[in-house]
């Protein structure tokens, strides 16, 4: 117990003795990890957005204009018996025209010029959750297209695919930047620990002479590295949260992307803890690298 207390006290003494170096290490690690965090936050929110869009997908099944009413009923029966269909809403030609006029009042004169209502009747189909994956939706749409009386099946898959491509790109950038900046964080902490090791080289030599094992000598420095990493990571989360709230505030005041701010989300507590653990791991790794470089025989 006393040994453990000694090791922890030594870590604290190391950090307190090199106060300025410790502060600089925590701050630079925080800024570095915050850069990674920005991409991670963007990635998490875009993924969530893609998920909502996919969950909210509505498929428009347009009917042939010349379709007789009993054939319409057949199409409806076909769709209702499909286990992939969760809900079905019929929109008649008249309803479609009414909606168009309501949504685009300034453009409604365009349709009046045509004489007759050109908008087709349609079904708005929502699929069951297990059929909402992009592939399932695609397969389902192709199958429905083959039904007699169906002229067109439309859904916003292109939009979702484009978003998926953006997300994949951000994912790659986040991984790339994450790896590079994590290596930077490891280097920053490694250098801090190296300075501490250098400052305490005489003490380390004495400890070796009186029979301290390698792990006894190393533990305070490993703890110090882990603490620096964890504090840096925690500070980066504070910075990110601040920037995130500022961004949301800005969205609300300017009125741009109204409503979108309520859909945005910060990392949940479990992810925050995981990120602090990652920071701790990076710090530990940095310290380990430094100790190895300092020399097996010395520390």
């Amino acid at each position: 117990m006393r040994t453990l207390a000694y090791l922890l006290r030594e870590s604290w003494v190391n950090m307190r003795t090199n106060r300025m170096t410790t502060m600089v290490a925590i701050l630079t690690t925080a800024f570095t990890l915050a850069c990674v965090g920005i991409f991670l936050l963007l990635y998490v929110n875009l993924r969530a957005a893609a998920g909502w869009l996919q969950d909210d997908i509505k498929i428009m099944v347009y009917l042939d204009d010349r379709l007789a009413s009993d054939s319409v009923a057949e199409v409806e029966q076909h769709l209702r018996s499909d286990r992939a269909v969760a809900s079905l809403l019929f929109i008649s030609k008249e309803q479609a025209l009414g909606e168009f006029k309501a949504q685009f009042p300034s453009e409604s004169h365009l349709l009046e010029g045509l004489g007759q209502n050109p908008l087709p009747a349609s079904y708005v189909v929502a699929l069951s959750p297990s059929f909402r994956s992009p592939d399932s939706v695609k397969r389902w749409a192709e199958r429905v297209r083959q039904i007699a009386g169906v002229s067109k099946v439309d859904y916003n898959q292109d939009w979702i695919d484009a978003l998926a491509t953006v997300i994949r790109s951000i994912e790659l950038v986040a991984i790339g930047i994450g790896v590079i900046l994590s290596a930077a964080a490891v280097t920053i902490i490694a250098n801090t620990i190296r300075l501490t090791l250098f400052a305490r080289r005489d003490e380390i030599a004495i400890l070796r002479l009186i029979g301290a094992t390698t792990s006894f000598i190393r533990i305070p420095y490993l703890v110090e590295g882990a603490v620096l990493g964890a504090l840096g990571s925690a500070l980066s989360l504070v910075m990110l949260k601040f920037m995130y709230e500022l961004f949301r505030q800005q969205m609300r005041t300017t009125g741009r992307f109204a409503g979108l701010d309520s859909l945005m989300a910060f990392f949940p507590p479990s992810v925050c803890l995981a990120l602090i653990a990652v920071g701790m791991g990076l710090g530990f790794a940095g310290s380990f690298v430094s100790i190895r470089r300092f020399g097996e025989g010395k520390a």
């Binding site: 117990m1 006393r2 040994t3 000694y6 003494v13 005489d202 003490e203 030599a205 004495i206 400890l207 070796r208 002479l209 009186i210 029979g211 301290a212 094992t213 390698t214 006894f216 097996e296 025989g297």
Partner: protein, 222 residues
Amino acid sequence: MIQLIHISKQYDQRPALSDVSLEIGKGEFVLLMGPSGAGKSTLLRMLIGADRPDEGQIFVHQKNVTTLKPSDIPYLRRKVGTVFQDFRLLPKKSVFDNVSLPLLVQGVSSADIRRKVTEALRAVGVEHKRDQLPAGLSTGEQQRVCIARAIVNGPVVLLADEPTGNLDPVLTAEIIELFKLINARGTTVVVATHDPLVMAQVNRRVLTLSQGRLLPEQRGLA
């Protein structure tokens, strides 16, 4: 207790020790004499595994130091106390904390640490300085603290490398008396020195090194 068999060591093609063989029995008090550069410190460093010979074998407390794995060396050093000319005390730690270090690294309980450190400080006569920092002590007191640290975990061997190099004749005599007391309790003591004053005070076995070679044995003057 200590056995060296045909030990040789070179640094940059220059011989530090040449074919040195010797034996030191349990409970002996041995002076290792010789001028600076004779190889005394090299020999002591080899006894604690801080350096390895180019040739030969070294046994300390029945352990072959030359073949010890690096991970086993700390356990050898826990049985061998070391005293240095420059004391090597941690400047930011109190006398008590300095002396407790060898026990801390072994995971000794707090109660035992308190008891053993108090005993060691009392044995060397600096118990009243336990809460002071090394900088607040005289050189003689610093050397006593260094000796307390070396004996606190009851080593079987005590090695001292020029322990009186920084001390005046009065303090030298006091420190030598301390070593005699420690030796009287059964600890094997090896003191490396070039100081004839020490030899004059210790009527014990004297091993003399000269340019890395061991000269025929003599005894200290009474």
